[in-house]
């Protein structure tokens, strides 16, 4: 029983980070219809920003997270405005290849600059745990889950309540109508991309705080983002959180009761099962229903 509870807790805590990793990916996919393969590279980039600030300035990673988010926002905004915008109307494989090229470029720049060594952002408290009976809850992961929930809630409020947020939703539902309403779609798309990169950057710092990271991890994070988005439904922020928690749980239980080597296989099995049965996402209606391409 304790084993089961511990696996459940581990899964939920890991799920929080996965949710934050996938949140921005889902937003960009839902709004701009672009599957950003380079998303995982944003996560790793954020981790490096946090690591560098901690290493050279001794900055607390939770503050470093804010800086990383700001830096990544600028990077994301610029990339969308300057490059991704060039292929927004192109067929699917073009955007996939473009962002794959960006990912390849970024990962190898990281390897060149920082080597492919595994790094982590050490803190005294993150590795300590709270003991609840037989179940151990590491503080770092608990904080990470908290950040994920706060970010999701913040994003929901932003998108629902603010002027820019509404413009993002409008552009996501119908680009040409949004344009007629006087919305600067290029700017809105770039802001969406920037937000997505900022969330990925923040997630990266958390990843570095509770574990390790290295450039080749980028691909894995892109993949997890995909699973999270599909589980939660495109552009559905609450869905992404739930999708992340679900993926975390599946991975934890498979790792606990089957084999740790099967963790990724389990994620794919879940993904394919969901795509085969409910292509519009597991959890409720997708937000941008008209965007769903599958029958």
């Amino acid at each position: 029983m304790a084993e089961f509870l511990q696996a459940a807790v581990n899964g939920l805590l890991q799920g929080g980070i996965l949710a934050l990793v996938g949140l921005g990916f889902s937003l960009v996919w839902g709004v701009t219809n672009i599957v950003n393969i380079a998303h995982g590279a944003f996560v790793v980039a954020g981790a490096y920003v946090g690591w560098e600030l901690h290493d050279s300035l001794g900055l607390n990673p939770l503050l470093g997270m804010l800086v990383a988010a700001a830096v990544l926002f600028v990077v994301g905004y610029g990339l969308q405005r300057g490059l991704v915008n060039l292929v927004v109307n192109a067929p699917v494989w073009m955007t996939l290849l473009l962002t794959f090229g960006l990912q390849l470029l970024a990962v190898n720049v990281f390897v060149k600059v920082a080597t492919s060594d595994y790094r982590s952002i050490p803190t005294g408290w993150a590795a300590r745990s709270l003991a609840l009976g037989d179940v151990r809850v590491p503080y770092g992961r608990l904080v990470a889950l908290g950040v994920a929930v706060v970010c999701t809630a913040g994003l929901v409020v932003f998108v629902e309540r603010t002027r820019t947020g509404r413009a993002i939703r409008a552009a996501g539902m119908d680009r040409s109508t949004a344009r007629l309403m006087g919305i600067d779609v290029r700017h809105v798309y770039a802001v969406t991309f920037g937000l997505s990169a900022a969330l990925a950057g923040a997630a990266g710092v958390l990843v570095g705080m509770v574990g390790t990271f290295s450039p080749p991890d980028a691909a894995r994070y892109t993949l997890f983002s995909f699973v999270v988005s599909v589980l939660g439904g495109l552009g559905n922020m609450g869905g992404a959180l739930a999708g992340g928690l679900l993926l975390g749980l599946v991975q934890a239980f498979v790792g606990q009761y089957l084999a740790t080597t099967l963790v990724n296989a389990a994620a794919f099995a879940v993904l394919i099962a969901v795509l085969a049965v409910r292509p519009s996402g597991l959890l409720g209606r997708p937000f941008y229903e008209t965007r769903v391409e599958a029958r």
Partner: protein, 324 residues
Amino acid sequence: MTRAGAVVAAAAFAVLCLLPAGLAPGDVRTMTSVLLFATLASAWNIIGGFAGYASFGNVAFFGLGGYSVAVLMTKASWPFLPSVAVAAVLSAAFAALVGLPVLRLRGHYFAIATLGVAEGLREVVVNLPRLTGGGAGITIPTLGARATTHYPGTTGFYWYALAVLVAAVAVSAAVSGSRFGYGLRAIQLDEAAAASVGVRTTAAKLAAFALSAALTALAGGVFAFQQVTIYPERLFSVEITVLMVVMAVLGGAATVSGPVVGAFTLRLLDEYLRRHFLGTHLIVFGAIIVAAVVFLPQGVVRCSADAWRERRLGLLDTVRAYRL
């Protein structure tokens, strides 16, 4: 195929037949890899180009082909040729099986579902160590009593790779001019309209996927035997899928010659960068992919045909068409 196309193909084939005589063994190995990638790109083109279903998991069939050959030669002591034939049939059957659910998906969903199939298959191979050797790999016996087939050596594999490429190009050419090919293009251009004129869309997509899988498995089988020891990480690498897509697309998707042109250009360029920019060649390669997608999305073959006809190079035309 047009008459000019047939002449060019015959000339290219003649050059490729003479090539091993004039090259150093290392260069023959490079050319073998070029031929195998040209096969992969041509095979991808049948489902991804003609039918327009951008499979991002075709490496599954490469790995399945390679592992089928390795397992049959090692555990069942089969010779190479029957093993590779069975590998192709197995991969086609597997494609038809997974095709039933995943070919109902479109666009990104199809791309990622196929990616998931490939990654899932790799995990299965890793987790069946008795059959596949698991993560530690499997070694095909090439010497002594357990060897079933004489190891063909550098030039021998060049001929195998060339034979496989000829098969892939012949199949592509046959598909391109046939009713089946028209059906696939109709599906690519508008699936609802295709069905409304009578194209059996599900059957056509499954057939294209299975055909693509069989050709991909042939290349995988040759590659596995050439490598002797194969590992799941290598045979199911996502990068192989991406390379075949990039090659097919940059050469010219849904054309017969495009994937071959793309594979030769990119694989030789990659080799050049590897030799002269060791350490940064993947960075340069990434930048080339980005630039090529933005400027040459119609592919080299179509772009040069248009440039020839209109007497101007329209690199920015596609940017104008696709930007926001």
